[in-house]
């Protein structure tokens, strides 16, 4: 029986979580096996990280990709890529160079069956304001994205908060062009309500957005990064969730997604300090999926 994803928020995994072990030899098949164990059916890969020979993807890789998707009931959820605006030491990338990089990834993502792209744009300050020419780049890339059936999603990540101007700029951009090629990826780090033990960049204010602030943005959100850094046993004796994310209130965020009819993949992104330890990593991945499964009920 072929796997059919449910409507609503769906559990997935970003292979970013497995980076340190992949660097030592963990394979795509190993990752998919663990995902199937956990019932996490959506995968995010990163072009630069998980495609051998990138950007020159081989036919053999594509064949193996589809064989493994089928064998382990995995669905392509999101493809991560970058506009590396600081590519050269002496000058930023031009609009054309940026669009060429994007186009290269649109083609790869399309071949691998991805629709959502987590598009990382270059930034110019500590709260991650994008490069000045981002509208020109996205304007030029959008028809090409539509041709390849993909949508570019900048990732909103702490220290950016949902109230920051760039979010409104993105929403206005999408509305003004009625864009089908541009949307948002929200990283759950923006809802951090406990900063104990967090790694923080220079722009951090030690506060997060309130979970309900996502509601007006949901029509623009096509994928979510289910960020987690530290899983603990749920301290609430009445709770049936079994685990809790120490820094991010999953029990408040996920019900909002369900109640507001959001439909999409939440790909797990583990940032724990122990993720170079394969035992600790697999345990944390399982704990996090149990938490999400117990909130969602599936």
């Amino acid at each position: 029986m072929k796997y059919v994803p449910p409507k609503g928020p769906k559990r997935g995994v970003s292979l970013y979580s497995y980076t340190e072990i992949i660097q030592l030899g963990m394979t795509l098949e190993d990752c998919f096996m663990e995902m199937q164990d956990m019932g996490a059916h959506g995968v995010e890969i990163l072009g630069n990280s998980h495609i051998p020979g990138y950007p020159n993807m081989t036919d053999e890789f594509v064949e193996e990709w589809y064989r493994l998707l089928d064998k382990y009931e995995i669905v392509p959820a999101e493809y991560g890529h970058w506009i590396d605006t600081r590519m050269f030491k002496d000058r930023p990338l031009t609009v054309k160079e940026s669009v060429d990089l994007l186009t290269q990834d649109f083609k790869i993502a399309n071949k691998l069956g991805f629709h959502c792209l987590r598009t990382k744009m270059g930034v110019i300050d500590d709260i991650l304001t994008p490069v000045e020419n981002w509208r020109e780049v996205i304007d030029e890339a959008s028809p090409i994205a539509e041709e390849y059936g993909v949508i570019m999603l900048p990732e909103i990540h702490l220290p950016t908060l949902l109230e920051h101007k760039m979010i409104q700029d993105y929403v206005e951009y999408i509305d003004s062009r009625n864009s089908k090629a541009f949307g948002l990826n929200i990283d759950l780090s923006v809802f951090t309500d406990n900063f104990d033990g967090m790694f923080l960049g220079p722009g951090a204010e030690l506060r997060g957005s309130k979970p309900e602030e996502i509601i007006p943005l949901l029509p623009y959100v096509h994928c979510i990064h289910a960020k987690f850094s530290r899983m603990i046993p749920d301290p609430d004796p009445e709770s049936k969730l079994m685990f809790k994310e120490y820094n991010i209130p999953y029990d408040k965020i996920l019900p909002i997604l369900v109640e507001n009819g959001w439909d999409g993949w939440m790909v797990a992104e583990y940032e724990g300090r122990d993720r170079g330890d394969e035992n600790a990593l697999s345990e944390a991945m399982h704990q996090h999926q149990i938490l999400m499964k117990n909130i969602l009920g599936y």
């Binding site: 630069n48 020979g53 030491k89 960049g201």
Partner: protein, 146 residues
């Protein structure tokens, strides 16, 4: 199979000219980042062998990535080829006579840009005492040469 240490034991050896004279040494190291980087994003720093510093601009350091040997200047202009996160690069150092049999302390410095992070976080400085978030640190290993 990659070793957990960034500097790999496998691949550490002297290199020889056609007459059999040792003209330097080489070692392999893997990328300390979660994604491959375009060569022009790399900031190649110094190699330190038993306390002797060999600067990137000395003309005595090249990197071999996917079988192609690059000078630091060539890498700075190349935004077409990538150093993949699972494929170690070989660092080749010219040093007449190579390294003597026995233990050697090998260290390397490099950085890379990360355009989506605050600009202040990826400013690479090759001074050994400076640590930057993105790779601007020193990877070290003590290894034997036979």
């Amino acid at each position: 199979m990659n070793e957990k240490e960034y500097i790999q034991y496998r691949g550490f050896r002297n290199i020889y000219d056609e007459e059999g004279n040792a003209i330097g040494f080489e070692f392999r190291h893997r990328l300390s980042y979660y994604r491959g980087v375009w060569l022009s994003q790399l900031r190649v720093g110094r190699v330190i062998v038993d306390g002797e510093e060999i600067l990137a601009e000395s003309g005595n350091i090249t990197w071999i990535i996917n079988g192609v040997e690059y000078t630091p200047e060539e890498m700075a202009k190349d935004n077409v080829h990538m150093w993949e996160m699972t494929v170690p690069a070989t660092v080749r150092v010219k040093k007449p006579g190579g390294l003597a049999q026995g233990y050697h302390d090998i260290a390397i410095r490099y950085g890379y840009t990360s355009s989506y992070m605050p600009p202040i976080m990826d400013q690479f400085d090759d001074s050994v005492e400076k640590i930057a978030v993105f790779g601007g640190n020193t990877k070290k290993r003590r290894m034997l040469i036979v």
